[in-house]
Every structure is written in C-alpha cells, then in structure tokens.
C-alpha cells in the first residue's frame, strides 16, 4: 500500500522561519546572551504596512534587548512583539532578535508568529497569523 504526500500551496499572508537560539555562558555580571534570526515573507499581492512579530514567552525568564530592526516594540502580557517596517508583495526580510536571561535556561521549543496589524500598536488582523518554533538551548547550563 502506498500514498503520495504533498503540501497544499500556501494561501496565507506570510511565511516565517526562525533559527535556534543558543545562550552563551554567563558574562561577568551573570547574564546569558543569545539571539534568533527570524525571516518573514509577504506572500500576498499587497503590501503589509505593519507586519508584527510576536515571541511567546513560554514561561522562560528571558527578556528582549536591542531589537534595533523594529519600528515599535511592546509587551503583550509576557509576550514580546516587534512591529517591522512595511513589507512589499513578495518581499522577504530577516531580522536578528537578541535575548538575555539571568537564570539557568532549560532546553525548550519556543514559538514565534507573524501577523498583519492595522497600526503600530498591536491591533492585529484576525486570520493573518502564521507561526513556527525554534529550539532554545543554553549549553553552559547543562
């Protein structure tokens, strides 16, 4: 018995990819540093004025820092969001998102999503979100 496996053509507004986040050993003041590179692409035929990337906190005691590529950053509860510059039809962009933590970090899968918003303050448009996961590790803690 056999069957074919295929993927439906993507019909959403975005695609998103994220690289693993690897924390360094603690620095002189006990802070671990790491970053993930997130690539988003506008699949639609229209420009997205406020593409908003949101990192789900998943309970890890990490904070974002130096997100210089964002037009606006803000927190929604424990989640951290970044409103990027407008994305033209078909345009793809990669931004680096640094994080830091002062406690030991256990390995986990963290989630990040991108969605279109109507303004720079997080008023997202329902049905536009797509997400992915990335592995978080802290080798010096193991």
């Amino acid at each position: 018995m056999s069957w074919k496996v295929s993927f439906a053509r993507l019909t959403g507004v975005f695609t998103i990819k994220a690289t693993p986040l690897v924390y360094s050993a603690p620095d002189q003041v006990g802070i671990r540093h790491g970053s993930t590179r997130v690539t988003i692409k506008n699949l639609s035929a229209e420009a997205v004025r406020y593409p908003t990337v949101t990192f789900q906190s998943n309970g890890a005691a990490a904070v974002f820092a130096d997100w210089s590529g964002c037009v606006q950053t803000f927190n929604v509860s424990w989640d951290a969001a970044c409103v990027e510059a407008p994305l033209a039809p078909g345009e793809e962009r990669t931004l680096e998102f640094p994080f830091q933590t002062d406690g030991p970090m256990t390995e986990n899968d963290a989630a990040v999503r991108v969605e279109a918003a109507t303004d720079a303050h997080g008023a997202v448009i329902p049905g536009t979100a797509v997400g992915t996961t990335y592995l978080v590790t802290s080798p010096s803690d193991n």
Binding site: V5, S6, F7, A111, V130, G131, T133
Partner: protein
C-alpha cells in the same frame, strides 16, 4: 519504505511466521505431527490453544489478493506426538490464510498554524477477503523525518520502535471492510511530493512484538 520482490516477501513471510509461531508447544507439536507422522495413538492435544492461533501472513498492500498460503513449519527438535483429528484441523486452518488488502488515499498537508505545524489526514480502507475473522490486523509504518502520526489515530494498540511504528486495529470479520483515518502532522514547512508505503499483515497478538520492520521505500 517499500518492499522487494516476491522472494523477499516470501522470506519475510517465513521469517515472521517463524517468529510469530509463539503458538505454544501444543500447536508446534501438533503441526509437527501433522507433517512428520502418519499415524499414532497418543491422545489429541487440548484444542483450546489451537483455537487461538493466528498465523502471521505479511501482505504487502500492493500485492494481489491471492496471497501465498502460509503453512506452519515445525522444527525437527519438536517432540513428535501422534497425528490427531485436532492436529489435522489445525494444519488445515493454518493453510487457509486470511487475505487482507488495503488501499489508501493521498495525504495533503494543509496550511501551517501558529506553531508552524501542518496537519493533514488520509484514509486507509482495509478489507478481509478471507473466510475467517482476522483478530489482529497490523499496520506497520516506517518512521521518516517528515510525517508524524498523531495520537488521535484509532489504533487498538500502537507501538513505537526505533525505525518503524505499528498500529493494531480492531478485529476484522470475514468479508468486512473498514476505513481507518490516519491523522498526520509535520513541522516541515514544505517539500516535494513524496511517496510513502506501509504494510498490512496479521499479527499473532496485540503487542505485535514479532513483526519485523518494513524496508524503506
């Protein structure tokens, strides 16, 4: 995953048969008697164990319905009891292997969700063309890096091995046909069209411990 030619299938059948003949000493001796002895006066073995016999017959799901019958083989070391009516009946039963066939629909993964997972499902239709109930229909899937069968699947017993996993479904009566929905998910964002193969066979018990892995294809 896939399967080789007929020779390999026959080998597999025999291999599995040898492994699955955990039929108990009664059956082994009875079968041996049937094959090796022409007469005897020993009392007939207790028929109860023989009634629990399910002779494993791997059926490549692409194979034609007329599968090669499987005959239990006894070792020379087995004690040689007398041939009895019960033994003859057992032998006849083991020769009359049930025949399972299956067809499958294609799997198309849908749009990714908030964690990037893409989900999809396909349906396997399994038919028992034999004249006897199949107690433990067993599906064997090769593990690959793309497809993950979720726990929602309707398996009576599911087991994960190193390179394959198995799913025992509810018994299938003679002539019965049943559809089984297979819910899959993948973290892979996209990929080329791929072909997946699975195997259907009868197991000797719900643990399906004796079933060898199918070859990749």
């Amino acid at each position: 995953m896939g399967y080789g030619g007929k020779a390999m299938n026959t080998k597999l059948r025999r291999g599995i048969l040898a492994a699955v003949i955990t039929l108990g000493a009664t059956l082994a001796t009875a079968t041996a008697a049937a094959g090796m002895s022409g007469s005897g006066t020993t009392a007939a073995p207790d028929p109860a164990p023989a009634e629990r016999i399910t002779v494993a017959e791997p059926v490549a799901l692409d194979a034609p319905a007329e599968a090669e019958p499987v005959v239990a083989e006894a070792t020379a070391e087995a004690p040689v009891p007398a041939r009895t009516e019960a033994a003859t009946e057992t032998e006849a039963r083991s020769k009359k292997a049930a025949v399972l066939t299956a067809t499958a629909t294609d799997l198309v993964y849908g749009q990714p969700g908030l964690t990037g997972l893409r989900k999809g499902s396909n349906v396997i239709t399994i038919t028992n063309h034999g004249t006897e109930r199949v107690e433990f229909p067993l599906l064997t899937f090769q593990v690959n890096e793309r497809d993950v069968l979720t726990q929602d699947v309707d398996c009576t017993f599911m087991a994960m091995r190193a390179t394959y996993f198995t799913c025992v479904i509810d018994p299938l009566a003679a002539g019965e046909s049943r559809e089984l929905l297979l819910p899959w998910q993948t973290v892979q964002p996209s990929g080329p069209v791929a072909k997946v193969r699975a195997r259907l066979e009868q197991a000797s018990d719900r643990e399906a411990r004796r079933s060898p892995a199918p070859r990749a294809g």
